[in-house]
Amino acid sequence: MREVVLQALVLFIRVTVIVAGMAGSCFAQSSIAPSAKAERFEPFVKRTVLALYDSRDEKEPVDTNIHAYLEMPLNYLGYEVDYHDIQQGLPSVDEMRDKKAVVTWFHRSLVNWKDYLIWAEECIRGGTQFVVFSQVGGIDSQESKKLTNRFLAQLGLKNHFSFLFDTSDAGYEVIDRKIYAFEREPFRVLPNFDYFEAISPETRIHLSVHFADQTGLKQSALITTNANGAFVHSGYEFDYEASVNLMQWLLNPFELFETVLGRHAFPIPDTTTLYGNRIYFSHVDGDGWNNVSFMEKYKKDRVFSSKVMLEELIKPYPGLPVSIGLVTGDFDKAIGGTDDGLEIAREILAQPQVEVASHTHTHPFDWNFFENYDREKELALLKKKNEESSSAPTGVIGSVETILNRISPDVKTDNYILDGLKGALRAYLRFPFDLDTEIKGSLDFATQQAPKGKKAEILFWSGNTRPFEAAIRASRLAGVRNLNGGDSRYDLSNPSVIYVPALSRVIGDQRQIYAAASNEETFTNNWKGPFYGFAALEETLKNTEFPRRLKPFNVYYHSFSGERANAIKAIQTHLDLARDGPYFPLTASHYAAIADSFFEARIEKLGSMRWAIHDRDFLQTLRFDHADELGVDWLNSKGVIGQNRHAGSLYVALDASVAVPVLAIMKRDDANQVVASVPFLESSRWEVRNVNHSDCDTGECKLTFEANGFGRGEMLWKGLPKGCYRVVAHWSEGAFDQQISVGEDHLLSVTLPFASQRTVSVEIHSLLKPDRAMPAREKVAG
C-alpha cells in the first residue's frame, strides 16, 4: 500500500513539475499522458481537433480555410474544432490535453517557425496526429529545412525543396479514387508542385505524380496519410474556377479525415436526425413585416406581408412548427417603426405551433461596426447615406427599398432609417446602438407580445450574421439560443459540399449556431427576383441528404416573402413536403439546442464497441457510418430506443429520459438475432421517451412510453412478435385506442392524433386474440 501511495506521490510531483515548467511543449503533454496511458486514465474519447491559423493571413477563425472547407466534414465525423492563432504563441499543455489532432493550412512561412516545427514534431511523438494542408510553415534555410523534414518524417515524407516549374512531362502515378477525384476529375494540366518523397512503407499514397530529373524518374507524393496524420499538397486539394467564381473539391475531405482519425472510433453525435427521421425546422426573420403585399388577393386591401404569411404559411400548417423572429424596432414608433403590424404579430405568436423569437431591435447589418461602436462615425455615415439616397433617382431608391424594406412608405421619410441601403450599418439609427436593447430588450418585447406561458426562446442574427463575442454572450445571458449565418447551399449554383458550412462559428468563448440552410434572399438574387427561386431549396435538400445526410431540412425565409405569390407558393411546396414526408418537426431553438449539445456531449469508452454518453442534453441521435454490418446490441445497451439506416449509416435513437445512456453495437448478423425479440423504434415524428418493454420472447409483449410533438404522431416500431396489438394513448385533453396487427415483418405502424404538443402516455400490448368489442379502426376522444 505504501508503495502505491509513494508511486502516486511521485507521479503527482512529476506531473506538477512538468506542467509548471514546460508549458507550451507537447513533450510535456506526452510525458504526462502518452496515448496508451490516456486510454487508461482518461476514458473519454478525444473529439477535439485543434486548428492552428496565422492571423497575419486569416484574421479570425471564421476567415480561415479550415473553417470554410474542413470544419463541416470534421463536425460531420463528430469532431469539434478549436482554433488557435499561432501569432499568440504555441498552444499550452492544457490546450493540447484533449486534442485528437492538429490541422494546419498555412499560406506562408511562420514567424515562429523554429519553435513551431520543434513543437509539432514533439506533438506527433506524443501521440497527436497532424493533418497538414499546403505550407508546412518553415522558411528557406538549412535549419528550417532540417526541422521541416524531421517533422515530415513523422508523416512518412521528405521534402526535397525542389519546385517543378515545368510539369508538361509530369503525369499521375497514383490516384486513389476513394480519397481523390471526389467532386471532379483530376487536373489535365498539372499545377506546379514540390518534390515530396514518401520515405516509409507505412506511408499511404493517395495522390502522386511522376516526373524526371537528371537522376531518373521520381515520384512526388502529393496526398498521403499514415498513422501520424496526413499531408495535402497545395493546389491539389480543390479547384477554383475564376471565370464562374465556383469551387469544387478534388480531395474527399470526409474520407481523408476518416482515414486519419479512424472509422467507428466512437458513435458520432448527430445533429441532423431525431428518432430515425431527418429533422425539419422552419424559422422566419421578421424583415418586411409591414410591407404591403403585391399579391392579387391581398393588395387591394393593403394587407401586410406578415398577415399573408400568417394566412398562407402558418395557419394552413398547424402540424409544422415555425419560429418567428420579430425585428422589434418595426413596432417602436420612437425610432421610426409603426404599431400597425403589432396585432398581426400577436396573432401569429398566439398560434400553438409558433415559437417566439427575436431578430434584434434595430436590425444591425454590419455587426463588426458595433463591437467598438462610435456614434459619431455612425452619424457621419448616416449623413452620407442620406445624401446619396436623396440624390439618387426615385426608381433606384424604390427598388433598393424593396430589397429589405420593412417600413411602410409613410414613415420612410425619417432620416434615421437606413433600411435596405447598400452599406447601411443598421435599419434604425434614431438612438445610439445599445447591446442590451438589441438583445435582451428585443427578446423581452417579443415575449410581451406572446400569450401567457410562451416566451422568446431564440435570437436570429441579422445582417451579415457575424455577431461579436459580447453580442452572443448577451443572448446566452438572456437565456436563449442563437441562430443564423452559414448560408448553406449545395446545388447547381453552389456545386460543392464546400458551400455547406460547419455547425457553428466560434468567436472568443462564445458560439454562434449556423442555420441549416440558406434563405430565400440568396435564391432570388437578393430579393430582386425571380421570386419563385426559393423553390430550388429542394436541390440543396436532396444533395444534403445523399450520399450523406449533412444538414436538417430547414425552411428559412423572411416576412417579406408574403409580398409575392410565387414566393409564397415556393415556400408552400417545402411545407407540403415537410408535412407529408418522413421528417421530425421541431422548433428552431430545439435545433440550436441540439447543435449546442453536440459540443457538450462527452463519450466514455467502456469497451471496444460500447460507450456511455454523458452531458448530451438535447442530442438524442448517435451515428455510425459505413455501418451496413453493424447493429445495436440491445442486451448490452441502456437507454437506447431505436435504430434506423440511411445511406449506409446507422442512426441510433436515445431515450431522452435516461441521463447517461450506454450504447453497445455488434456485427449485424448477431444483432439481427437479437432484434427479433426486442421492440425498437424505427422512426417517429414525435419525441419518444421513457420507453419500457416486457420480455417479448415470453408471454405478453408490452411496450410503454411517453411521446409528444407537432402534428400527427406517426411512428414505426420494429421487432415486435407477430400478432395482434392494442395501442392505448392518453393525454390531458384526449385519448386514443386502436388495434393493430403485426405481421411477418415485425412492424407496427401507428399514427397518434394531433395532441397540440401535449405529452401523451402510450401503451402497446399484445392481445391473445383480437378484442371483438374494439373496432379495428382508431377510436379517438377528446
Partner: protein
C-alpha cells in the same frame, strides 16, 4: 345561284369583317390589363386564348411571364417549350429557359440550354460560362472543343488561349497547338499564366528544329514585356530546354535581351551562365548590377554572394557582403560562403567571416562546424559534425569541402566504405563522383570501374557544369 345570295354573302362577309375590326385586339386587351396591374385578368385571358389554340408568340410569352409571376412553374416551363416547338431558334426563349433552370437549380435543363446558347447566341457570355463550368467539372474534352469554338468566333482572351494550347499540348496534339498559337500569339505583355505556355511553345519549336522562329518570337515577347516578375518561370523552362539542346548561344542571346529590359533577371541569367561554365559572363552580369547601383533586396544580396562565391570570386563576394551588411543576409548565405572559402583553403578569411555566423547556428552547417573544429584541433568534434552529413545529401558546392574533410578525418577504407553503401551512384553530384574516382583510381579497381560507368564520358568533369543539370528543378 341567284344574285340575291351573292348580296347576302357579301353583306355577311362585310358584317363579319366589321365585327372583327370592332372587336378588341386581344394583345391590346392583355397589354391594358398588364398596364393596370390586373394580372389576374391578363392571366385568364392569355390562358384562354392559348387553350383555344392561339399560338401568337406575344400571347404565349405574356402567358409564360404571368405563369412565372404566380408561381405556376410547371405551366411556365410547358409554355416556353411550346414556343420553342414552333420557333426552335428563338434565343430569347432559350434565355428564359436557361434562367428558369438556373433559378430552380435544375442541372440537366440548365446545361441543355446553356449548350444551345453557347453555340447559337452571338453573346459570348454563354460560351464563356460553359467553358468555365466544363473546366470546373474536369471535362477537358468538352472544354477543348468549346475553346476551339471560341477561337473560331474571334479573338480569344489570354486565359483561354493559354488553356487551349496547354490542353492540346497535353493531349499530344502539338501540330494543332502550334497552329492555334501562331494564329493567336501577340507580342503583348504577358502575365504568370501566359509565360509558361509561351515557354512550352518555345520548347516545341526547338524540338522541331525551328530555332529561328523560337528565338524571334521569344525576342518579341521579351521586347514587349513590361512586368519582369512573371518571366522567371517561363524563362527557366526555356533556358532548361536550351541546355538540353546544348544551345548556349540562345541562352546568351535571350539573357542579354531580358537583362536590358529587366535588370533583376541578371540573377537568373547568371545561374544559367554558371551552368554553362561561363564564369566570366556571370561576373559581367553581376558587376553590371553593382555598377548600376541596383537596389538589392536581401534575397538578391544572398544570391549575389552565392554566385560570386561559386564562380570563385571570393573577394568580390566578401566585399559585397561587407558593403551590404552581414546582418542583413541569412545564415545560409554566410555558411555557403564559408564552405566555398574552406574549399579554396582560405581559412584565415573564413575564420574572419565565421564571426558573422552565430555559434548556435553551427550545428545546422555541420561541414563548416567540422572544419572550424578541425582548425581548433578538436578532432573528435570535427568527426562528430562530419558524420552528421549524409553522403547522399552533399550538394555540388559542398563537394570540395566534404572531400577535404573526408580525407583528413577518415581512413581510405572508411571513405570507400561510405561510397560502397550508395547503391545508385547517380544520386550523387558528378563533382563528388569525379573527386571520388580520382581518389579510388589506385585503391580499388572494381569501385573505380563502378564510378566510371556512372560518369561515362563525363569524366573528368571537374570545373565543368553538366549541360543537363537540374532539369526543370530549381532549388
Amino acid at each position: 345561284m341567284k344574285p340575291i345570295y351573292y348580296k347576302v354573302i357579301i353583306l355577311l362577309a362585310v358584317a363579319l369583317g366589321a365585327g372583327y375590326l370592332l372587336l378588341p385586339d386581344p394583345k391590346e386587351e392583355i397589354s391594358a390589363y398588364l398596364k393596370d396591374g390586373n394580372f389576374q385578368e391578363a392571366y385568364r385571358l392569355t390562358d384562354r386564348l392559348v387553350k383555344g389554340g392561339n399560338r401568337d408568340p406575344y400571347i404565349l410569352v405574356e402567358l409564360a411571364k404571368l405563369q412565372s409571376l404566380v408561381g405556376d412553374l410547371d405551366a411556365y416551363e410547358e409554355t416556353l417549350k411550346l414556343i420553342l416547338k414552333t420557333d426552335p431558334g428563338n434565343l430569347e426563349i432559350h434565355e428564359m429557359m436557361l434562367n428558369f433552370y438556373l433559378t430552380l437549380e435544375k442541372e440537366d435543363g440548365y446545361f441543355e440550354q446553356l449548350d444551345y446558347l453557347a453555340r447559337h447566341s452571338p453573346d459570348l457570355q454563354y460560351l464563356e460560362t460553359l467553358i468555365g463550368r466544363r473546366r470546373l467539372q474536369g471535362q477537358y474534352e468538352q472544354e477543348t472543343e468549346l475553346l476551339k469554338l471560341f477561337a473560331a468566333r474571334g479573338e480569344m482572351p489570354t486565359v483561354y488561349e493559354q488553356r487551349l494550347v496547354m490542353l492540346l499540348l497535353k493531349d499530344g496534339n502539338a501540330k494543332e497547338a502550334l497552329s492555334y498559337f501562331r494564329k493567336m500569339d501577340s507580342d503583348r505583355d504577358a502575365d504568370q499564366t501566359l509565360w509558361p505556355m509561351r515557354a512550352q511553345i518555345f520548347k516545341l519549336l526547338l524540338r522541331q528544329g525551328q530555332n529561328e522562329e523560337a528565338l524571334e518570337r521569344a525576342g518579341h515577347w521579351l521586347e514587349n514585356s513590361i512586368n519582369g516578375s512573371p518571366l522567371t518561370i517561363g524563362l527557366t523552362i526555356m533556358f532548361n530546354e536550351c541546355l538540353k539542346f546544348g544551345r548556349a548561344d540562345l541562352i546568351s542571346n535571350l539573357s542579354s535581351q531580358v537583362i536590358a529590359k529587366h535588370p533583376q533577371m541578371s540573377f537568373l541569367a547568371s545561374s544559367y551562365a554558371l551552368k554553362l561554365g561561363n564564369k566570366a559572363q556571370v561576373n559581367a552580369y553581376l558587376d553590371a548590377l553593382i555598377a548600376a547601383n541596383y537596389p538589392f533586396s536581401d534575397g538578391d544580396a544572398e544570391t549575389m554572394i552565392s554566385l560570386k562565391s561559386t564562380i570563385g570570386d571570393l573577394d568580390g563576394a566578401i566585399s559585397f557582403l561587407r558593403s551590404y551588411g552581414p546582418d542583413k543576409v541569412s545564415h545560409d548565405a554566410i555558411a555557403n560562403l564559408l564552405e566555398d572559402l574552406f574549399a579554396s583553403h582560405e581559412d584565415v578569411i573564413a575564420e574572419e567571416i565565421g564571426h558573422y555566423l552565430p555559434q548556435e547556428q553551427l550545428p545546422f552547417y555541420p561541414l563548416v562546424a567540422s572544419r572550424f573544429a578541425l582548425m581548433e584541433g578538436n578532432r573528435s568534434e570535427a568527426n562528430y559534425y562530419f558524420k552528421q552529413v549524409e553522403l547522399e545529401n552533399v550538394t555540388k558546392s559542398q563537394t570540395g569541402l566534404w572531400f577535404d574533410l573526408a580525407r583528413q578525418l577518415l581512413s581510405a577504407d572508411d571513405l570507400i566504405g561510405l561510397f560502397t553503401l550508395i547503391k545508385d551512384l547517380r544520386a550523387l553530384p558528378e563533382d563528388l563522383l569525379s573527386n571520388y574516382a580520382d581518389f579510388v583510381r589506385n585503391l580499388d579497381e572494381s569501385e573505380y570501374m563502378r564510378v566510371l560507368t556512372v560518369l561515362g564520358g563525363a569524366f573528368p568533369v571537374q570545373g565543368v557544369e553538366p549541360l543537363y543539370a537540374n532539369d526543370g528543378l530549381a532549388q
